[in-house]
Structure formats: C-alpha cells, structure tokens
C-alpha cells in the first residue's frame, strides 16, 4: 500500500491506496492534482533518505507528503 499524507490542523490526514488497483490509483492521482492545484507542495523521500519535491504524480511513490503553500510569518 502507498500513502498520501496531507498536513492539517489535526496533524495530518492519510489516504492509502493500492498502486495495483486502477481505480484507487486514479483517485490518488486526482487527489494529487487537486492538492497541488490548491498550492500544496508534494514531496517524496528517496531511498537514500533525501527529500525530493515532486510536481507530477508518481505511481511508484510509497509515501508522499503534502503541505500548504508557504507564507511569511
């Protein structure tokens, strides 16, 4: 199972999907596009532990984190 983690005021919301399931994969891609369209940044971790910003849906990603647009505080 793969997971999309969306940061929010509760800590986060998690959406799990099976990348082998076409319908779940389509839902995950739709969610990715909706969130990034709203200004969320998506990031993945590489196998070496580095973080990587992603701008298009990666069906092979095990875990993707989304955080809202950054603003000056």
């Amino acid at each position: 199972m793969s997971t999309q983690i969306v940061m929010d005021h509760t800590g986060d919301r998690r959406h799990q999907f099976d990348p082998q399931n076409a319908r779940e994969l389509a839902d995950a891609e739709k969610r990715f596009k909706e969130l990034t369209g709203l200004g969320f940044t998506a990031a993945e971790r590489t196998s070496t532990g580095q973080t990587m910003k992603v701008t298009s849906f990666d069906p092979t990603a095990q875990e993707t984190v989304f955080f809202p647009r950054l603003v000056g505080g």
Binding site: M7, H9, D12, T41, R45, K53, G72, G73
Partner: protein, 136 residues
C-alpha cells in the same frame, strides 16, 4: 470515557481504575495533533538530523541552492536560523505553511522547502535578528 466509568464503578480496586485511567491518558496524548506531527517529522529526518533533534530539539539542514546551513527549532513561528561557517546564527527567518499546523508539521515543511526549493522559501520569509539565547 463511559468504559472508564463502568470499570471504576464495577471495580472494588481504586488502583485498577487509576491504571486504566493512566492508560487512557497515554493513548489519548500519543494521538494528539502535536504527537502525530512530531512522529511524522521524525520519520522524515535523516539519521543525523534525527540524532540532533532527539538530543537538542532542533536539527540542521543544508540549503539546496546556496549550500548554507540552517537550524530549525521546535516551534511553529520564527524558528529558522541561518548559521555562519562556525555555526553562529546570523539571521532568523519566519516562513510557515498556511493554516494552523502543529510544530512537527511546520518543521517538516521548512526542511523540505530548504532542501528542495531554498530560494523560493526565503523569498516569502520575513527576516529578524537572531535570538541571542539560542546561540551555542
């Protein structure tokens, strides 16, 4: 909570109630937004960053564009400092994700931003003088 009250009413042993009550409190605390944010952050830190965070409640990141070192403290506002070559803070930044996020989430967003899109993060940041008490 009803479960706890039933346990308490049915129990002749106050210690038993206290044990259940303590367990309930621990489970509830470990699932709080702050605890969830902290757990997520810890999972995304590199080995070195995690060791530093566990020991000092902050961790360092290297900016992807300038290779400058930044220190991110456990807080959700004005918690990022740029360090000079010997590790002294030279400027403090405030840039945070929109919304009311917990410190662990804010720190993870800041880490990702500095490691993957440093200049864009700094472009939106407000700058302040570093806090003297944070110097080491």
């Amino acid at each position: 909570m009803d479960f706890l009250l039933r346990t308490w009413r049915g129990s002749p042993d106050p210690l038993r109630f206290r044990a259940v009550s303590d367990l309930y409190r621990i489970v509830r605390k470990s699932n709080s937004p702050e605890a969830r944010g902290r757990r997520l952050l810890r999972r995304w830190l590199s080995e070195g960053q995690l060791a530093q965070f566990d020991a000092r409640n902050f961790f360092d990141v290297i900016g992807c564009h300038t290779a400058k070192r930044y220190r991110i403290y456990y807080a959700n506002v004005a918690n990022v400092e740029e360090l000079d070559k010997v590790g002294r803070p030279i400027v403090r930044y405030c840039f945070i994700p929109k919304g009311d996020l917990v410190p662990g989430d804010v720190m993870l967003a800041q880490k990702i931003a500095l490691e993957t899109d440093e200049l864009a993060a700094l472009a939106v940041a407000n700058r302040f003088a570093p806090q003297p008490q944070r110097s080491i």
